[in-house]
Amino acid sequence: MTAQQIIFFIVAAVTFGSALMVVTSRNLVHAALWLVSTLFGVAIVYALLNAGFLAVVQVVVYIGAIAILFIFAVMLTRREQLESGQRLNSGWWLGAFIAVLVFGGLFAMLQGWSGFSKASADIPVGFDAIGQLGNALTSPTGFVLPFEVASVLLLAALVGAVYLAFNRK
């Protein structure tokens, strides 16, 4: 076992364990903090996959913005924070069954695929992933249109969120 594999196992165990805590913890502030731990684990997975830019974006956007937004929302709906009584609805066993079924189905389907245990090729020497990503996002032959559409989507979501949360008296 190489060092990289050991690091992956530790990170995967932490990520999966905190994901379980996100969906089971009773206190929503704790659930949001466990989400931060999960997101940090995913950022390390990106780093292991040689996607350094995405690892940084994960920390800045997900942990810095989305997780904080969740904590704000929990605070603004404070009276429900401790979820009086049950935290899971009456059909939770069906949800658990479907989740296990989806995992089993995905695992069985992936195992039958020939590229399942493919090893990664080495990244070519001098390959500039961030430069390539920037070119792909801004070149007309690349992904400039989806990139612009994403910015319009963000603007629309911003206006929509302000409109929805605005307190009309």
């Binding site: 969906v23 990664s120 979501a157």
Partner: protein, 102 residues
């Protein structure tokens, strides 16, 4: 060297945990937390396929960035809806928001 299968299994496990959260939690904010877990699982898959395919094709990373943007938009609108519902009906329990269930 880590085989591709490990990343795919981690991603499938995260997706299933998120799906369980969406299906089983009562609180609307907790349901949104489950959606975030599922989006992250998808992103791990996209980046893993970029790394194990041809690294000079950046589509995997570009898609991951667009998923980031969509996740940010989703969570902003979702939490605004939750806060708006809480203000009017004083609850964030999904079972009690049943005006359309007659």
């Amino acid at each position: 060297m880590i085989p591709l299968s490990w990343y795919l299994i981690l991603s499938a496990a995260l997706f299933s945990v998120g799906l369980f959260g969406v299906l089983a939690r009562k609180n609307a904010i907790a349901i949104l937390l489950g959606v975030e877990l599922m989006l992250n699982a998808v992103n791990i898959n996209l980046v893993a396929f970029w790394r194990y395919g041809d690294v000079s094709l950046m589509a995997g990373q570009v898609f991951a960035i667009i998923v980031f943007a969509v996740a940010a938009a989703e969570v902003a609108v979702g939490l605004a809806l939750v806060i708006s519902v809480y203000r009017r009906r004083n609850t964030v329990i999904a079972d009690e928001i049943d005006l359309l269930k007659w």
